[in-house]
Symmetry: C2
Subunit: 238 residues, 2 copies
């Protein structure tokens, strides 16, 4: 027997579909709870419950008296959502972003598997350095499926003001909603040592990320190498 899901979860699905289709763009307001309630022929409380779950997943933001808005990657708040680096001393600051490379390549077996592609499909490989107060701290190696980001070049990346995820969202309509990270300690190889300006063999934090958009579809693989002498990766265990 199939167990039908509760009404508020079905409504949640309908609203999420509309978000995915782009019925309301990032930053825009959703219809009010009463409007959605009459649209779906349910009570306001049921819509409310649906939206609460969607808000808990950070897809929308609720503001009392104003409305419910589609989340964006622009806001300051979103910075520490996907970059968990905090300084050992002093207050958090924003990194400077230096893009080194954006090349079109063929996916290796492992990458293809992670991105749900076929081996040999085209991917974009982006490499960049994040620096804090002028000190190189993170070396990122990013892989994106090329078909979703046609025409993305190094020049685009260099010209854009804001985070890379904001660019991918506003220019290509792909929203990063969730990610899984696997963290390990590794020794700096010659390339990482050169790029990050540390001795060969320096212990570095390796952060492998798989990022997902709607429907948990994977759309980004990245490895970050972090220097953790003055910064650490902060995590909360609930």
């Amino acid at each position: 027997m199939l167990k039908s899901s509760p009404l508020y979860r079905q409504v949640k699905g309908l609203i999420t579909q509309s978000l995915e289709k782009g019925e309301w763009k990032p930053g825009e307001a959703l219809p009010s709870e009463f409007e959605l309630a009459s649209r779906f022929k349910v009570s306001q409380g049921t819509v409310r419950r649906a939206i609460e779950e969607i808000a808990a997943e950070n897809l929308v933001i609720r503001q009392q008296g104003k409305g419910t808005f589609v989340a964006t990657h622009d806001v300051a708040h979103a910075q520490f959502r996907f970059l968990r680096l905090v300084p050992e001393e002093g207050s958090p600051r924003y990194p400077e972003n230096r893009f080194l490379e954006c090349k079109r390549l063929r996916a290796t077996g492992k990458i293809a598997r992670q991105l749900n592609l076929r081996s040999g499909d085209a991917v974009l490989r982006i490499r960049r350095i994040l620096s804090f107060d002028g000190v190189p701290t993170v070396f990122d190696d990013i892989c994106l499926p090329a078909n979703l980001f046609k025409g993305l070049t190094l020049e685009h990346l260099l010209a854009y003001q804001g985070t890379m995820y904001a660019l991918l969202e506003t220019e290509y309509g792909v929203s990063m909603l969730r990610a899984e990270e696997k963290i390990r300690a590794v020794a700096a190889d010659s390339e990482a040592a050169a790029v990050l300006n540390v001795p060969l063999g320096t212990p570095l934090l390796s952060v492998e990320r798989l990022a997902m958009t709607f429907g948990d579809q994977p759309v980004e693989v990245r490895q970050g190498l972090y220097i953790t002498t003055h910064f650490s990766y902060k995590n909360e265990l609930g």
Copy 2:
């Protein structure tokens, strides 16, 4: 002007206080929603909302048809809540626990500050190794305020069946509810190299944890050194 918090949050506070006082022990059932509602002179829906928030913080577990139960550290589920190590290949397994040391010491300034103690107050220092399939993988150095765990010895630790947090909860009534971790990459020093059986200088994951009980009172500081060649620290970014 003081803004009074909503009713359900006040009820949440009252229930949490009762949990802290031990009115219901770990594993026991709370009174039903209707009983609590009449006790606090509010509607069932308000109690419900309060309990939902408490459940979201993992202090209690709700089970349809059965009741609401005080959470414990015994269940398998709790294992991966506070130990985020997963194997690169194969399915998760349980580590074997080997305690090396449990000594009474005076707190250094840094530890004292983190535990809200005075410098020089007594602390317990526990050291142990976690092994997976017989392979030493984690070297933990744990500090607890001695006054909360009077009489805790190496023999107790060796004799107890179950996780250390389960012991602290059932034998000393101190529940670990939440923790913050700071993760860095470090080189194995001579001691860590010897204990974990790796070459000097091997990159290790350093995981510094501060664990809290009720009222966000810190009650444990630990540093773990993880070998991450076959395991990685897994994290979800929402």
